[in-house]
């Protein structure tokens, strides 16, 4: 440190310094900050140098650093070290990882929220309610002769329903997070001349990003990535399928089918003047029927008739029809909103960066709460609640039988 800075640094104080090379020549001037262990991000000694911009100068400073006994950090290594030295807990460390991975500003905000513990707060709150219910049920089982407040079947049921809906909300908010991180998959169907690219460009507000192939699938599916309100959408265009002729055969190829299987929505773009073609219908028939479908009738500005020249939405059962004009921009907002709705995004709700691990626990906890409603015996009801809590504990941390007993004893006067 001394060789490079040329002077001692006092802990955690920013000092203006020269950064020197091996001959003592000044490479750059900037701020040096020294964090001695354990008061640093990683819990180890950390030296932070803030130089002027410019790639060349930064490269030189980096080269100079590597002359000492140091190496470049691997991706995520700082966070890993912080976790290993107990500076961050697992949920926080994962929050940081998401922040680094976050591709959009929405995702960054959501990751920030997990880091600050809003996600664990929401789960903690749920667990508190769950513990309250368990306390009443367990007290009834372990202390039937004591003066404990009895909980009726009806009360049990109504509290269970409340818990179930709270958990549903958390799951939905956490699902938003995974949407932001991983994005949604959209299958696009449309003839070359219906105005697909102009529509996609208008939707995302920028020129559509790179056109790339999905590795491992047939090259006839082309993927484009766009963003709407910060939600990444991966668009799989079926145009290639059409060109190669035998649609049905291509759809039969397992990898292609798998790519379509995980789609969140099927977007069908049509020329409002011509409607559905036989080709479109053929592809559509091959797609999984359980994926929701959104029909866009473009070019309403060119419609000759008088009836449907303004942009609007028609809901037809599971299908949704949007009439718009990519050229005039009329109806684009409607499509944006519908598209986001179909992939399960609702902006108003607080969003948590739910990790897959969290989602699994939340869903499994929800399953147990569901089973509790059909429990034939009080002890089975209690068992399902215990299992639900065990799943939530994977997110919030340990809660022992003794903790539960503590709650019972502080609430009820037990003591025959």
């Amino acid at each position: 440190m001394h060789a490079m800075i040329g002077k001692p640094l006092s802990p955690r104080c920013a000092s203006y310094s020269s950064f020197l090379d091996a001959e003592g020549q000044v490479l750059d001037q900037g701020i040096a900050l020294f964090f001695p262990a354990p008061h640093s991000y990683t819990g180890e000694d950390v030296l932070e140098l803030q130089g002027h911009g410019g790639t060349a100068v930064l490269q030189m400073i980096l080269q100079r650093c590597l002359e000492f006994d140091v190496r470049l950090a691997q991706p995520g290594e700082f966070t890993q070290r912080a976790f290993l030295s107990g500076k961050l807990d697992l949920a926080q460390a994962e929050g940081v990882a998401d922040l680094i991975d976050a591709t959009t500003s929405q995702a960054a905000r959501s990751a920030m929220r997990s880091l600050q513990g809003e996600f664990s707060q929401a789960v903690h709150h749920l667990v508190e309610q769950l513990v309250r219910l368990r306390m009443l049920v367990e007290a009834m089982l372990d202390f039937p002769e004591e003066d404990v407040e009895s909980i009726s079947l009806v009360q049990r049921e109504s509290q269970l329903v409340k818990l179930q809906s709270q958990l549903d909300e958390i799951i939905s908010a956490a699902r938003q997070g995974s949407l932001l991180r991983e994005g949604a998959h959209v299958v696009l169907i449309g003839q070359p001349n219906v105005g697909k690219s102009s529509l996609l460009n208008r939707l995302s507000g920028t020129e559509v990003a790179l056109v790339s192939e999905i590795p491992g699938t047939t090259r006839d599916i082309i993927r484009q990535a766009i963003q709407i309100d910060g939600v990444p959408l991966h668009i799989m265009d079926t145009a290639g399928l059409r060109e190669s002729g035998d649609v049905v055969e291509l759809m039969g190829i397992a990898r292609t089918r798998d790519a379509f299987q995980k789609a969140d929505v099927i977007l069908v773009i049509l020329d409002a003047n011509r409607g559905m073609t036989a080709d479109d219908q053929k592809i559509l028939d091959e797609l999984p029927p359980n994926i929701s479908r959104l029909y866009v009738f473009n070019k309403i500005d060119l419609l000759a008739t008088t009836t449907t020249t303004t942009a609007h939405v028609e809901e037809r059962g599971a299908e949704c029809h949007v009439y718009l004009s990519a050229k005039t921009g009329d109806g684009l907002e409607l499509l944006r909103a519908k598209l986001l709705e179909k992939v399960g995004w609702h902006h108003e709700a607080g969003t948590f960066m739910g990790r897959e691990r969290h989602m699994r626990s939340l869903r499994s906890a929800r399953e147990h709460l569901g089973r509790a409603s059909t429990a034939p015996q009080a002890e089975i009801f209690a068992e399902e609640l215990r299992l639900a809590q065990e799943q939530l504990n994977l997110i919030t941390g340990e809660f022992t039988a003794d903790d539960l007993l503590g709650q019972i004893f502080s609430r009820f006067c037990i003591g025959k």
């Binding site: 015996q377 009080a378 209690a382 941390g397 539960l404 502080s410 025959k416």
Partner: protein, 633 residues
Amino acid sequence: MEFPKKFDVIIVGGGHAGTEAALASARMGKSTLLLTHNIETLGIMSCNPSIGGIGKGHLVKEIDALGGAMAAATDEAGIQFRILNSSKGPAVRATRAQADRSLYKQAIRSKLENQPNLWLFQQAVDDLMLEGDAVSGVVTQMGLRFSAKTVVLTTGTFLSGLIHIGQSNYQAGRAGDPASVSLAHRLRELKLPMGRLKTGTPPRIDGRSIDYSVMTEQPGDDPVPVFSFLGSVQQHPRQLPCWITHTNMSTHDIIRSGLDRSPLFTGVIEGIGPRYCPSIEDKISRFADKDAHQIFLEPEGLSTHEVYPNGISTSLPFDVQLDLVRSIRGLENAHITRAGYAIEYDYFDPRNLKHSLESRFIQGLFFAGQINGTTGYEEAAAQGLLAGINAALYARGEAAWYPRRDEAYLGVLVDDLIMRGVSEPYRMFTSRAEYRLQLREDNADLRLTDTGRRLGLVDDVRWQAFDQKRTAISQEQERLKSVWLNPAILPQEEAERVLGHGLAHEYTLYELLRRPNVSYAELMSLSGAGAAVTDQTVTDQIEIQAKYHGYIERQREEIARNEHYENMVLPVAIDYRAVRGLSVEVQQKLNQHMPETLGQAARISGITPAAISLLLVHIKRKFQHDLTEQKSA
């Protein structure tokens, strides 16, 4: 003097832990000496006159399945039997009995006196004999030296016992018995980590001075339940009811006015009492908004008038005790025969024991019962049994045995004690058992009799009766699985009566029994169901197993998932300070406990899942490192 006979096992203490320990070790064929300061008090119930209850009844049935004495003695001494929680499901269902103190004591004494391989001797123990870090015997008050391969300490509340009544206190092991002061002193010198706990009892009342006409009667169950697998209703003596009354506002005022002379509230008592069995002065100050507290008046026996008022344990001065008792409805003219008191005593931190209840520091020395920080006859007896078994195994030179948490409440008890320690006197509750659904009273025999037989605890009579029952269960299960009911043959009205609707297609009887609302008896009333089994313990078992099949399977899966973890053996020489990322607190805990497996480590209080992950990483890394070294070498 050196006593001429050398023993395999010496038991110090003749309470519930000591007597089960002595009987178990002797049943296993080891020469066993039971030392007690007073043979007349063997098997005495020093607190409330009742055995069993929720969680506790489960323990008693397990002790019974391993050939222990408690359930059988209760059948001979029980003057009221009830099944608690009968409507809440078979797993939380539990048996409880009020026992005649003197009949109970007699039953235990007779079992001890008639047990081959067991010697009794009356003399207080003052000292342990040690050879290196192994125990080699004990020295009694009069200097008599007994040698043995193992020693089991079951001294209850006697170690430095201190009784409080109001502001006066005196050394005692229990009201009327001396404390073990020299032994406590000697054990302190061994520097085993210890602490101080507190418990208490209510004043006793002469039943002739009680007005029962204003109280609620609580009779026993009809039909009368039985505790032991081999027991019968015919063994029971005459049955008596209990009575319920309540404290009131004036009782509470009297107690409040005496708090300034309470050893609990003036800081004289240092030991920690249980949260669930507080003294009456504790109850009214912690739950100040309650206008009344329940009191159960429990008869002490058939040959005495004494009554135990359960619910008013107290260490208030005697004048306050008298006033508070007489303020209670029905007790206006009560005569107190013995004063209530609190007792403080030493216990040894059970985290310094192995799961076999052997000390980690002194080989061959076992601890069982209240000395480990538990409370309750049942908890003591269960530990005594386990310590007796392991002392006998140790004397045989065989590996220790203890049940897992999914096998028995005994497994939950010992694992909780060893892994988590105690912060108050430990009592069993069913909510402590994560595998509660399979740890039922009704299957205690099926869970443990096999093991008991293998260890030498179960005699031929019990074994044959058990084998018969088990065979009957599996034969009938097989039959139910092989008999099909055909919708074309089964009369429609029969199907509707039993199943609620007609059969959609063919079903086996077993499949139909798994439906929630179909009982075995109803099922057997269908034409074509064949001959029913009449033994109700058999049919109950078949019914529960059929109905709980899905839940039990899920718990099995959970156990199997954890087993990998549970069986992952931690290296003995591991230095937890070298594990990166563990907090100092976690390092200390692990170094102190030295868990044998990763599963045990995970159950130490304060050990987080993150710490376990780090430990896993450390072991893997080290293991791989060792592998590469081996390869290069």
